[in-house]
């Protein structure tokens, strides 16, 4: 990745840490740019942003971006972020994890942070493989894939993060791909404004490992196939794909079916941003609740301290 790609990016990078360890054509560069753009467009100061990452290719992102950054242990980013957010409730805390990081080793932390409605913008980069260790099966590897730990093809079912997000009680879940960079940035911007746990799953490509073992060895081809990939791991999108298609000026748009999962959820997705699967508008995050409790305790104490009352 070169610094010429975006003038915005340059102001948010740590040049001494570059080049990245990522392979040419990896979607992580696109994702890093989108995160930085979202922060920039939201007018957040670098000092007020913390990026907390896990382990793996995705985990390296926190080192490259010029925020307050923690490159934590494998899967634990939500737990580190919980401590940091409660110590510095004024900060915008973003976690960035891979699919193995978030859904396998860190599954418990992810679920608990959702249940707690901790104020974290959680970005999960899903490339369906363990990249840094060399192409082993991950919790989102599609069935019947080849990996370095499944030479005879995978037979485990991939995890669907959307279902986990609903069960965990996350107030916001969006799914995007590195093939749709403009909407990716917008989705992250929206997630940054959620009070509570906002989860964004980004489908990315590992053409070097997953692709080479599964007949998709070229980054561009793999990225072009992403809509299909997204549907494969997302039953909702699959269902939506079967709905009547309407032609618009900007291209094809899927019409919403009133019986769809999204319409049936407590608060239907805002159809303006494609990719928002569900959003609960009344969400109040953990830290806001906690510190209003502290305010109440302080007020009660002052009240009790006054002799005339």
């Amino acid at each position: 990745m070169t610094l010429q790609t975006s003038h915005i990016l340059r102001d948010y990078m740590r040049p001494e840490t570059l080049p990245t360890t990522w392979c040419a054509g990896c979607g992580l560069g696109i994702i890093m740019r989108s995160i930085v753009e979202a922060i920039h467009y939201q007018g957040l100061k670098k000092d007020d942003v913390a990026m907390v990452s896990g382990i793996g290719c995705t985990g390296r992102m926190s080192g490259y971006t010029d925020f307050n950054s923690i490159h934590t242990t494998h899967g634990r980013a939500p737990a580190f972020a919980t401590g940091l957010k409660l110590a510095r409730p004024d900060m915008q805390v973003i976690t960035i994890m891979g699919d193995g990081d978030a859904m396998s080793i860190g599954g418990n932390h992810l679920i608990s942070a959702m249940r707690r409605n901790m104020d974290i913008t959680a970005i999960v980069v899903n490339n369906s493989i363990y990249g840094l260790t060399g192409g082993q099966s991950s919790p989102t590897t599609p069935m019947d894939s080849r990996t370095t730990t499944a030479r005879h093809r995978t037979f485990e079912r991939p995890m669907n993060l959307e279902v986990l997000a609903r069960a965990g009680g996350a107030p916001f879940f969006a799914r995007a791909t590195v093939n749709h960079t403009a909407s990716l940035t917008k989705l992250i911007e929206r997630a940054l404004n959620i009070s509570g746990f906002a989860l964004v799953e980004i489908i990315s490509n590992c053409h070097v490992l997953y692709g080479k073992m599964n007949e998709q060895p070229v980054a561009s081809g793999m990225i072009a196939n992403m809509d299909k990939e997204t549907m494969r791991s997302n039953p909702l999108l699959k269902k939506r794909a079967s709905y009547p298609v309407r032609e618009t000026a900007t291209g094809k748009t899927y019409l919403r079916d009133s019986n769809s999962d999204a319409a049936q959820s407590s608060v239907a997705a805002d159809t303006k941003d494609r990719g928002v699967i569900f959003e609960n508008k009344g969400s109040v995050g953990f830290s806001r609740r906690y510190f209003s409790m502290l305010e109440n305790i302080r007020a009660q104490k002052e009240h009790a301290g006054r002799p005339d009352d």
């Binding site: 670098k46 000092d47 926190s62 307050n68 950054s69 242990t73 634990r76 409660l86 110590a87």
Partner: protein
């Protein structure tokens, strides 16, 4: 003025933490440490602090590191099974030099063991539990007073040397009730975390100074730096440069080894004329103390070295003791974890024997005295 209060050990640890300035606690319930969490869930919000119950001990350890980087003095409390789960992020805190206090109220292990019974079986785990060679500080309270005083010390050491400090309590002291002296806040020596004075551009969060540490900047205050569990340079960026890694190791070891006078805490009782000595720590030191009193009545020249700092081990003091007495008896609720250290330092100078059990019962003064008199009979 200090006030006298009756407290039990876990309560004194919780109050000591508040007095030391602890304002963040993350934990997971586990016997026999749970009261610490229960008390702090009440006390921390009262002083404007944060209490959060996490999903497990792995997350608890992670959360206190995150909070410490956010500028709060942080702690967690657990027992053996939870302490095992904490080893991963304990190593992270060591390597990334993040201050925090990890309280382990020891119970009988391995695994679930005897949840309500005291043991001292985690001494070596406190030293070597997380992977990789690394320095560590571990303190062990031998009374309810120690629970308060040493908890304050633990926070001070954590902040001063930017390291996790392990507080090795046991179910003997944690449930014991005693009258203790609670110092007024003005009488307490509290180490406040220093702020960096240099500009953010010049700031090196992980400076490889010899015998000291760089001030740890709080996240969000203009010093944007990188924290990682990877081997890193002085700015915190990952490195595989072996020369830098070697410098890092020197810094890590020297920040503890160059400050032993400050870190090593122990109490001596009747050692001046002792011919035979006890080395004890934690709850067992109470029985040892009693044994010395009885022995002296019987005319036996017995003394006690009570260790409060277990790691780093007070090597010089123990070595000197092995030169001055004929025999050292080490009572402990394990099968000789501290005794092996004493044997190593004695190197044949003095006989070293243990009084050991790990069956859930405590060691009595009579059992210690029986071993002492047996050793006296063996001495020519």
């Amino acid at each position: 003025m200090a006030e006298f209060e009756v407290m039990y050990g876990n309560q004194a640890i919780a109050e000591g933490a508040i007095a030391a300035g602890c304002r963040f606690y993350a934990g997971y319930p586990i016997t026999p440490s749970t009261e610490i969490a229960e008390i702090l869930s009440d006390r921390l919000p009262e002083v404007g602090g944060v209490f959060v119950q996490m999903e497990d001990e792995i997350a608890s350890m992670a959360a206190i590191i995150g909070a410490s980087l956010g500028g709060l003095k942080s702690a967690t409390a657990t027992s053996g099974p939870g302490f095992s789960l904490m080893q991963e992020n304990l190593g992270y805190a060591v390597g990334s030099e993040v201050p925090c206090v990890v309280i382990n109220v020891q119970r009988v292990g391995p695994s679930t063991g005897l949840p309500t019974k005291a043991a001292q079986g985690d001494v070596m785990q406190a030293r070597w539990g997380t992977h990789g060679d690394h320095p560590i500080i571990a303190l062990s309270p031998g009374s309810v007073q120690d629970c308060f005083d040493l908890t304050v010390k633990a926070f001070n050491f954590a902040e001063k040397y930017r390291t996790p400090v392990i507080f090795l309590a046991d179910a003997l002291v944690s449930a014991l009730q005693e009258k203790i002296s609670v110092p007024h806040s003005s009488e307490l020596d509290i180490y406040a975390r220093p702020k960096p004075t240099e500009s953010p551009e010049d700031y090196k969060a992980f400076a490889f100074t010899k015998g000291g540490v760089a001030p740890l900047a709080t996240f969000g205050e203009g010093y944007r730096y990188h924290v990682t569990g990877l081997s890193h340079d002085e700015k915190g960026y990952p490195t595989e440069d072996s020369a830098l890694v070697a410098q890092w190791w020197e810094h890590m070891h020297s920040k503890i080894e160059d400050n032993l006078d400050d870190i090593l805490l122990y109490e001596e009782k009747q050692l001046d004329d002792a011919e035979i000595a006890l080395i004890a720590y934690g709850g067992t030191s109470m029985a040892a103390d009693h044994a010395v009193a009885i022995a002296r009545q019987q005319g036996i020249k017995l003394g006690l070295l009570k260790l409060q700092t277990i790691w780093p081990f007070p090597e010089k003091r123990v070595k000197k003791l092995t030169e001055n007495v004929n025999c050292i008896v080490v009572p402990e609720l394990n099968f000789g974890q501290v005794r092996s250290e004493v044997e190593r330092l004695s190197a044949g100078q003095a006989a070293v024997v243990g009084v050991n059990k790990a069956d859930g019962n405590q060691i009595t003064p009579a059992e210690i005295l029986a071993e002492v008199t047996a050793q006296l009979r063996n001495t020519p």
